[in-house]
Symmetry: C2
Subunit: 246 residues, 2 copies
DNA sequence: CGCTTGTTTGATGATTTTCAAGCGCAGTGG
DNA sequence: CCACTGCGCTTGAAAATCATCAAACAAGCG
């Protein structure tokens, strides 16, 4: 068993969650793995399944990944997404969810053991990992809060702003979002159906909150009202959407 | 060991006790803290708030605790519960959610630093901690899967079975459950309203799934049909509730 | 082209929320 | 002792939201 100190205790449980692992961690990752093994996967390829032994950690170079669990009758709950720059595969001894590519994906792969050793030797790296866990957990609990209490419009606004914020952190345009996922993944992530997701996109468009040329390309036009929705602040929402005012 | 086969993982949608650990860990806790500082809180007392610095870990001796986050307009998302025997306060540098007592509570308190040192010195203890965090994460993901995809009846059935299972693990009656939380906490946990929760309890009673004398005391009468509901298996549910059959 | 896949839109229906009222119980004070 | 009050729970009726069923559209591809 891997030697454990308290700091690592938390790290070792890091979980790859959506919108996690920004630049700094990826940089630290690269420091420790100058020549990482690379691997490519096609679109809609199952990288690992729920319950599989977790043996490597991957940095996404390009493409994006969807995490999910299945319900007995075939329904699916999407737990999160990982985009380029994200480190995935942190977590428990075995994977707690399945991971599937949403596009062709290029990964850099590092065995778990090497990562653990790196964390032991490099305090800063260890700290980044630790911070990452916190962020992931916040995301998880935020997600619970979100889907349990927000309306369809609020949930979608929430997601769009998350993606926008992510773009901003990476130095990309905060207003123009390329959605790597299909409507079905958004629906399964937000706990809705594809029809409701589609209708809500249309509503946002008609209300002037977003532009939507290609279904996968969203341009945010009124981030303020979107933010009011995403906050789940019903009081402030009164005037934000005509649908609600009328 | 962590349950690792996919079937188990789906069913291990344990109640979301954010970093609230059960028996073995509690025992290890006691090993390292023979004379713990004790503290009492009244009912509906805020033990800590989201964002507070996390400086101690607590073992619940009696009473129970509710974890939650607030939305801007006052709505609340309950993330989980902790019952007697649970260890609470593990996690990140600062608390990711608030904790409030649901009854008068007696706690044993240990500073985080001591716990960290204990984990360093005692590999088994460290392992228990690790396993526990994994369990919490599984629970969180299960909870996400649950509230995003299940109906009101399915969610409530799920919760009742979790509580029943918890009773069983502690050697108590699996059929008779004393609910430590009010309807409002159940509602905020399941992402429903108190009225819907109440109606669903009544439905279960009329269907003969449970008995309900005192609103806080549930007697499970037909665990099979309850389990079918909790699984979220719409195919198998067809005959399980008259409401659905009619 | 014809096929498949993904998205959008419409009509309808089911579930859940909202608003409203009533019940039971415990605590309080006349 | 008994109204009175507050709180939590239940129930009902109406309204809103979302899901389901169904059809049409657009894009990509053999």
């Amino acid at each position: 068993m891997i030697p454990v100190n308290p700091a690592q205790l938390v790290q070792a449980k890091a979980i790859s969650f959506p919108f996690a692992a920004g630049g700094k961690l990826a940089n630290a990752f690269r420091r420790h793995l100058p020549r990482a093994a690379a691997q490519k996967f096609g679109c809609r390829h199952l990288i690992w399944s729920e319950g599989d032994k977790r043996d490597c950690v991957c940095l996404i170079q390009s493409g994006s990944v969807c995490f999910f669990r299945m319900l007995p009758d075939g329904r699916r709950a999407v737990i999160g997404f990982a985009l380029p720059g994200d480190l995935i595969g942190l977590g428990a001894e075995s994977h707690l969810f399945s991971a599937e590519t949403m596009q062709p994906v290029r990964l850099e792969i590092m065995p778990v053991a090497i990562l653990d050793r790196a964390a032991q030797e490099d305090a800063e790296f260890a700290y980044e990992l630790r911070e990452e866990v916190t962020r992931s957990l916040m995301a998880a609990y935020g997600h619970i809060a979100s889907i349990s209490k927000l309306s369809a419009a609020e949930r979608l606004a929430h997601l769009l702003l998350e993606l926008s914020e992510r773009n901003r952190m990476k130095g990309l345009s905060a207003a123009s979002i390329v959605l790597p996922m299909r409507r079905i993944e958004i629906a399964d992530y937000l706990g809705l159906t594809i029809e409701t997701v589609s209708r809500t996109f249309s509503l946002f468009r008609h209300e002037g909150l977003i532009d939507l040329g290609d279904p996968a390309i969203v341009t945010i036009k009124d981030i303020k009202r979107l933010a009011i929705l995403a906050r789940g602040d019903r009081d402030a929402e009164k005037g934000a959407l005509c649908q609600f005012a009328a």
